[in-house]
Subunit: 136 residues, 2 copies
């Protein structure tokens, strides 16, 4: 059941003992991620690199999820994020939405992350460095 | 029907001839907005000030909405934003989710905005200046 898998995702993300493999297991082979920091990435190899880079950038983090909205094959996860970054910024109550679309095997085939990175970064990126959510 | 009202909201926001009054008409009296720039605000007076401040900050803007997810009384609007700010920053394809919960009269009683402001601002706010999504 996709809402349960979405909840499991955040448990894994906040656990200090979880490896990237357990998160990757939730994804379908040809899955896609869209995120503010990386734009659009495809496939499990790049998804693995994405989570490894995240684990280096965020030195700690806790999701406080308030709603799991559900429409068809899609779960919209709404909440806030507390945490800290390798660059030394601490943040709390930053609004976050992660949208997961599932395939027929209850694997995530599309993950779209929405987060206000101005509350997380220590420098504003140049316009050219801002990855687009559009895949074109 | 709440999805139609959500679509109407973005038409109004992108129209150059729309006044704040038409947007305010979509809201219930005691409505709440949560946004990355302002935190939590309550009531139509503060909501009016919010939209007036937005209209000054964003010198132009176009929403490209991709999905209107629907769960009960809530519509989750997912897309991207193109635009420019009074500070001279132009941006394109910035991921955006606006979540609207409606009352029995199809008025918005809760609006939660999720946008990556690092793609929009010209300076990273201080930690103390980052408003929390939490209402406490």
């Amino acid at each position: 059941m996709s809402v349960e898998i979405a909840k499991r995702y955040f448990e894994l993300m906040d656990s200090t003992s979880t490896g990237t493999d357990e998160v990757l297991d939730l994804y379908a082979e040809g899955a896609t991620i869209k995120s503010p920091r990386k734009g659009v990435i495809h496939g499990k190899d790049d998804i693995q690199s994405f989570y490894e880079a995240n684990a280096e950038f965020f030195t700690g983090g806790e999701h406080v999820m308030e709603h799991f909205h559900h429409d068809g094959d899609t779960v919209i996860c709404e909440g806030t994020l507390d945490g800290s970054t390798v660059e030394g910024r601490n943040f709390e109550g930053v609004g976050l939405v992660d949208i997961m679309s599932f395939d027929d095997n209850d694997k995530i085939e599309s993950f779209r992350a929405y987060l206000d990175y101005s509350a997380v970064l220590t420098e504003v990126p140049d316009d050219e460095d801002v990855p687009s959510f559009r895949d074109d």
